[in-house]
Each structure stands twice: as C-alpha cells, then as structure tokens.
C-alpha cells in the first residue's frame, strides 16, 4: 500500500458511483411510470399477489419452517469461526507449530459442534423427521420440504 488514503478515496468514489447509479435508476423507473407513462392503476385482481389465478389462500406473511432460522444461526457461528481463522491464515508461517496445534484444537471443537448438529438431523431437509416439523397451521406447506 503506497498511500492508503488514496486507496480509501478510490474505493469511496467507486462506492458512491455505484450507489448513485442504483438510486438514479430507481428514481428513473418511478418517474417513468408516474410522469411519462401514467399507467399506474390499482385494481383488485391486479393488486392481488400472483397465485396461479386461483382464489387466494390466506396471507403470505405466515410463519415458515424453523430450520431456516437454524441455518442462519449456524451460519453466524461458522462465520465467527472464519473470522478467528483469518488472522491465523495470514500469520501461520510465523506462528509455526504452536499456532497449528491451537488452530487444530479450535477447528476440532467446532467440527464436533457441526457433527453433532448434523447428527441431530437439523440440516436434513427430509420428510422423515416429521416430529420436528411445525404444525401445518404454522408453516407454509412447502417451506420445510423444498420439493
């Protein structure tokens, strides 16, 4: 890094360019419909969410399977693991064997957690585990089973 300030400035300009472009595009789209085309009309059938043309069955804002939430939670934990491993990855040559042992233990502990989680079938998306599936009234029919 010759001049970190300059690099940060370059990144800032690029980010602002992208943000500006995106917001301008959104404004243009809105303007086109509202001012140029003037086609925006709300009707009952047009406003209804698409559901293959059959009468609507309930609201879309229903609760969905708890497995998605678990995936997200596991993601946070493994993301944090990655964060702890990044400093190791860039210094592992200087750290030598001691660092390697430390990391092996760290990874092993988390691999144990992952193994337990998989063993409990939490990330298994199959129908055989119906005892955990939320009651039908709570969940969208297809949320827990993607097929």
């Amino acid at each position: 890094m010759a001049n970190s300030g300059l690099e940060v400035l370059g990144a800032t300009i690029f980010v602002l360019l992208c943000v500006g472009m995106g917001l301008t595009l959104l404004a243009l789209i809105r303007l086109m419909t509202k001012v140029v085309l003037k086609t925006e009309k709300h009707k009952e059938g047009k406003d209804a969410p698409y559901e293959c043309g059959v009468p609507l069955l309930g609201d879309a804002r229903t609760r969905f399977g708890v497995r998605f939430y678990l995936v997200a939670l596991s993601f946070v934990l493994f993301d944090v693991e990655t964060v702890f491993l990044i400093p190791y990855a860039v210094t592992f040559k200087q750290l030598g064997r001691e660092g390697l042992y430390a990391v092996l233990i760290f990874v092993a502990i988390l691999a144990l957690g992952l193994f337990y989680e998989l063993e409990r079938g939490l990330l298994t998306w199959s129908d055989s585990e119906s005892e955990d599936a939320p009651a039908p009234s709570e969940a969208l029919p297809a949320a827990g089973h993607g097929h």
């Binding site: 001049n3 690029f14 086109m32 419909t33 995936v71 491993l85 990855a89 199959s126």
Partner: protein
Amino acid sequence: MLSLGLDASAVGWKLLPVLLVFGAVLAVVPLLVYLERKVCAWIQNRVGPNRVGLLGPDGLAQGVLGFSGGGKRILGGLLQPLADAIKLISKEDFIPAQADKFLFSLAPFFALLPPFLTFVVVPVGADLTFGGTTVPLIVADLGVGMLWVLSVSSLAAYGVQLGGWASNSKFSLLGGVRATAQMISYEITMGLVLLSVFMHYDSLSLREIVQAQATYFDPLLGRLAANGLGSWGVWHQPLAALLFVICAFAENNRLPFDMPECEAELVGGYHTEYSSMKFGMFFQGEYIAMLAMGAVISTLFFGGWHYPGYASVAAASPNLAALISLAVLGAKVMIFVLFQMWVRWTLPRFRYDQVMELGWKVLIPLALVNLVVTALVNL
C-alpha cells in the same frame, strides 16, 4: 488516524481505474444478456435472437435510414439488449398494494450493489505509466484485499431476502427465504476456502496474489522462471478452486443452484411480483455477479491479468503490456462467464434438500480439511 496526504494529480489519476472499471462493467452487462440468449440457443439447437440488429432486412439501419445492407442479417440480434432495456423501462413499474412499498423498491438496489462493489479490489491490469506517473489499474488496493470481497458478498443476500419478504406473495417469500439460506450456507465454505488461498499466497492483497502467480519453478532450468502458467493457483489449490467455483454458482443463484427462482415450482421466486426495470435490476445484478465471480476466480486461481511473455512486452513498452493485460483478464473472465452459461443450460436443478446437504455435509468439511492440509503442507 488515516492520513490523506493527497495531491490533485494523484486523485485525478485514481479516477482513471475507477471510471474504467465502472464503465467496463456497465458496458459488458448488456452484452452478457445477449450472449446468454445466444449460448442458450446454440446449446438447444435454436437460432436465438437474430432480428433486432444493425444491418439486414429488419435491422436498425433499414428502419432509420432505409439502408438494408443487403439481404443477409449480419450480427442480427446484437441490439436485442437495447430493445430489452427499452421494453423494460417502458413497462409499468407496478407496486402491488399489499407489498411493503419502501422495501419493495429498495430490494433491487440491494441486488445490484454488492456484486458491483466486488470489483473495487480486483486488479484489472498491469501498471500504466504516463510521463513518470505510475497508475495502477485497480480501483483501490486496500490492505484487507480479499476480506473486502468476503464482506461485500455477505451483503448480497439482502436483495433476495427483502425482495421476497416485501412482495407479500407466497412464492416470493419462499424464494427469498430459500435463497438466503442457500447463500449463507455456501458463504461459509467460500470463507474457509479463501483462508487456504491466503495461506498458499501468504497474502491478502489481490495485487500480491497476481504477482505471486507470475513465477513458477521450472524443472528444466532448475530455478524460478518468470511468467509461467505453472504458478497458477489452480495447480496448487485444486480443491479450493473447485469448491470456490461451486460456491460461486450457489452465491449467484445460477443453475444448478437456482432454488430461489426455479420457475417450475416457485413461478419466479423472489421476483415473482416485480415488473419493469426493477425486475431488470435483479437480473442485471445476476450478470454483474457472474462477472465479479469470474474476475475473482481468474485472479485467485488463473493468474489474474498476468500472461506468458508479459515481462518481455513490458520491457519494450509498459503501456502496451498493460493494455494487453486488460484484454487478457477480460478474456479469462469471459471464459468463466461462458462456462457458467454452459453449465446453466446443461445441468438440471438440484432439489432444495440436496443443495443444503451438499453445502453442510460435503463442502464445509472438505473446506476444513483443505485448510488443515494447506497449513500442514506450507508450514
């Protein structure tokens, strides 16, 4: 505190790579839309878009100037992206009454932005020299390098998640939730794979990673030789390259990982309710993400902008060498983009449970093993 010892000329020259990268991405995306339709047509033994072109019986020249340029269609369909854009922008931007209006409008923006930002740290070419001033062709050579790519790609899930939720449609919600769960699952593997890449190159900076791939050990000469293909990351980290490519497909929601859309069961997935250019922004985002992944993969595993013979060209004319390097990176990215299209139109889609099981039971353990093996080998 960060010090900004800036002079006007340095800032001025910095604008060159910034505008170059920004403009190049914007210019290439419409071409990719055309290319995808053509490639799909070739694979399915069809003609593909061939009408909206410049020359030919139904080309733009005929319509505007009355000049047909002969009876043959030359590069017919080349203006198809333009026609698509005009069509999309002149459609009604409809916001369903039951949708959350603010988030519904914001979601396409979130889909477009993160893939664009990936390009900030990608070195697109060798240094240009103008009268003693060296202009590195990189938007920002940040100290964190690849970590920028990781953090930016972690923001990519918002577009689909918010779009799916704000539409207030069942198909959208299912698509959005599935997409988010899939993207975050594969992000872990991506992060772990990048760790072993850092270890191999012993650096976070993409500039240094490209430099490291410029040399290789020549068994005939018995010493390090410059400008070889043997130093490409893919030979040293084959498993990492494979895992990263798989994750790139999953992150971009491309087939065989296009769960979030899967027309057959979810209509359009998270963008079922979107119309007009807002829908266009979602698919532009997808093409930019393809480009971004292509750029990152070529930089990490396929030598970046480096090419055999760079040193000798650079000795003669550094600027010529830099221009060639731009083209070389462009070609590498295009090859990867074509690969993504080829896969899309060849492979069938996974089932959702297969996607998640592949991610958690196969890819993450493999990435962890790769990490430990890399540490053992390089220590």
